[in-house]
Symmetry: C2
Subunit: 426 residues, 2 copies
């Protein structure tokens, strides 16, 4: 089954987008314009019946399979609502408790992503009732500290070594790191909240919430532009992402099936997530004229096309000079210095949520990007690019990195398996 | 043009719901099963063309007219995303500056609700680009303190007298009240955020943000149950609301066209909004067994039907006793003691957003209801009901009122008029 996002074509409406996903999953090659992470549509056109017999429309009835080579929530199309939550193992909890926890979590996720309550026994909050799975995904990751607490130091991937410090960091340790990390995404805010509470409840005595953040993207059907989203600076965001159609997509994003050089073996099919809460200094940003904002990125705001012309998908012409002899895309433009060609091929799959937590203590909007990027190895993805950006990104004066995390996200669970089983029982 | 919500029928999918609204607006009586606040659909089935020529799907392309007898955002179907923001006039700003501000705000709202940028001159953030209006509404109200600051005390409605204290109040004054109040709702989070920033920008030097809150409801299409939403306790919420089909709906919700006894005249067609940020003590609530949760409200969680049987729309049988001789719907059940029959006919239109701001300082979820209720007179709506609830609501141990506001929301602006003009220039 294909497990790629619809990031390389434009579907002109959401139900067509979802339908294409189904067709793709069913293997009807002629229709595979771009698959949607293997989404299943219970009822694509108009109301239909979900497993519980309730009539649903296509947004609610779309389900993203829990099982697969990779965990869901990495190449799944951006969802309208997201929750990030990090946990620390409780004092006294070790490998055994962690294994039981991952087993409970996987089971709850498997059920909820199919539109069912998290457990057979009662006690469900009911918050998701009436809606279908709404493209719910629940993705689990391990932080560096998890391995010491569970006596698994020997299996800790080198890729989890702490990120270097960057000069622009203003990191709040209380909202950074964590033994365990869960990313929840859904196209309905109540479905997402329901999953968050269920995951918290299943943590039981084994783990305690360390930090928790909320985010959002466009609602399905609000735009005919499903390929990329806009961020709160108003830019189209996601254009330069690696495309599933590119031959090196898997190699860049996922640890190879045999563990590969990146290893360890239990990470086969997995990926490393770098999570940064990046505040946008919107009061300052919005004072810039649109032309100056566009020079900061190197792309037009209206349609995301490079300042050197064309459409959103046209390559940047980094050598082109303007009448004044200066490069049209400035030397410090964000899209120039973050591009793989400028970073020895370093690339990552950015899959963010925007966040907005009202007004901050300083009176400015507490809003920005829950930047999440996925790569087979952070040292060939986030790290070199952020190092470069840190030295000379025109965007830097308008953003502030306020929290950071790095998590090893194992491959998808096979039928009957739980996420992380190969680590915890291997 | 009809200006009623779809709260008295079940549309089985969102585009049918929207379509019915359009038909209603066009006056095709046979199709008026329930109008949607006069929503206009640029393209109901599949992609179409919005005013800017972009293809849009039905969620994005739905527009709620700004002009009308009443402001939009009162009987408009619940939107997926909401922002509440209160402003205080800046020191030195008086009636003249307030009139200019309401003129600017109305113009920005009129444009944005039609899917256009807030002003012709540049400087738009671009955050809403690619999406249509997405059912955006922007609703303006005046707080009690507005009238003293603008020398308009003589026109201050008696209905704005401070709400009484309630024993369960834990109100934070920094997040309560305000000279001016703006409610923003949209089915897309970026469209809503865009409108919030535009409204803040247009405030210019005339007014400063006092507080700001974010909320949400179901996404369009996530459920086939458009009549009511669920709240974060998992209950169907909105069932007992006055129905537009009832003969006293207008009288209960809106100040009469001639000002009526409620007066003053400038409030003709207006309504009073009571806004309460009500924290839910979810860690405690979720420990209750489902049966006990249902007794707290008097309705079933699964489908909202009364514990005395039937379906969601069946009347509560308040006299029915169980085998133990006790009333099936307990004496302190929330739906019993808040019902109009128990409160001398007092009724209000509840139109809330849920909120979730992560984890609070006390480690429990900072989540609950942005309770907003609309009535022609708070003394015949919110006040008597909340007095009763305050004395004996079974829900009280699970909620905490953390902020409060009361605002006079004038009638809708006529073409060429701005909201509040009859107050400020009358
Ligand atoms: C709030 C912070 C940020 C904003 C608003 C932002 C915005 C953008 C925008 C508008 C683009 C151009 C469109 C696109 O290709 O998506 C872009 C490209 C990109 N950004 Fe960022 N970005 C931010 C932070 C970062 C960070 C922290 C990294 C990694 C360290 C990063 C890496 C990239 C990469 C790799 C590209 C694609 C370049 C290419 O190959 O064309 N960005 N970003
Ligand atoms: C977080 C706080 C609250 C929650 C969770 C809540 C929940 C509910 C629920 C589940 C119902 C039954 C379904 C329905 O008719 O909508 C209901 C009914 C009602 N509630 Fe609340 N409520 C809250 C606060 C309030 C407040 C503060 C008031 C007014 C002072 C209020 C007034 C009403 C009214 C008038 C009804 C309808 C009763 C009827 O006529 O059947 N509620 N509420």
């Amino acid at each position: 089954m294909s497990d790629k996002p619809v990031s390389d074509h434009r579907a002109s409406d959401i139900s067509r987008r979802r339908l294409i996903g189904t067709a793709g999953a069913a293997g009807a090659a002629g229709l595979v314009l771009g698959a949607t992470g293997g989404a299943t549509v219970y009822a694509a056109a108009g109301p239909g019946a979900a497993p519980d017999g309730k009539a649903l429309t296509s947004v609610g009835s779309t389900a993203v399979p829990f099982h697969g080579a990779h965990q869901a929530g990495i190449t799944t199309p951006l969802q309208a609502r997201g929750h990030l939550v990090a946990f620390d193992l409780a004092p006294g909890a070790g490998r055994k408790e962690a294994a039981a926890l991952l087993r409970r979590w996987s089971e709850a996720a498997r059920r909820m992503t199919a539109g069912r309550p998290p457990a057979d026994a009662g006690g469900d909050t009911g918050v998701a009732l009436d809606a279908g799975p709404s493209s719910l995904t629940v993705t689990f990751g391990f932080g560096r500290t998890f391995f010491g607490r569970t006596g698994l130091d020997a299996r800790r991937p080198a890729a989890l070594d702490p990120l270097p410090d960057f000069s622009s960091d203003h990191l709040d340790p209380r909202r950074s790191d964590g033994d365990l990390w869960v990313q929840i995404g859904a196209d309905d805010a109540l479905v997402a909240f329901h999953a968050l509470r269920a995951i918290q409840k299943e943590a039981g005595e084994a783990a305690r919430v360390r930090w928790q953040m909320n985010g959002f993207n466009r609602s399905p059907g609000a735009t005919a532009h499903p390929m990329t989203t806009r961020n709160l600076m108003g830019q189209i965001d996601g254009t330069g992402n690696p495309k599933p159609s590119e031959s090196d997509f898997d190699r860049r994003v996922f640890v190879p099936a045999d563990g590969g050089a990146e290893g360890p073996e239990w990470m086969a099919g997995g990926s490393y997530a770098v999570v940064r809460r990046i505040r946008m200094l919107l009061d300052d940003w919005e004072k810039l004229a649109r032309g100056d904002q566009e020079k900061v990125i190197g792309r037009r705001k209206s349609d995301g096309a490079p300042l050197t012309g064309g459409t959103e998908t046209t390559e940047l012409d980094l050598d082109k000079a303007g009448p004044d002899g200066k490069p049209v895309i400035p030397a410090n433009a964000h899209a120039r210095i973050s591009a793989p060609e400028q970073n020895g091929g370093a690339a990552m799959l950015r899959r963010p949520f925007s966040y907005h937590d009202g007004i901050g203590a300083d009176g400015t909007p507490d809003a920005g990007l829950l930047f999440i990027c996925w790569q087979a190895d952070p040292l060939r993805g986030f790290v070199p690019v952020q190092r470069k950006l840190d030295r000379g990104d025109a965007l830097s004066p308008f953003v502030r990195h306020e929290a950071s995390g790095l998590f090893a996200v194992p491959g998808g669970a096979r039928d009957g398996e739980y996420v992380g089983q190969r680590l915890l029982e291997g």
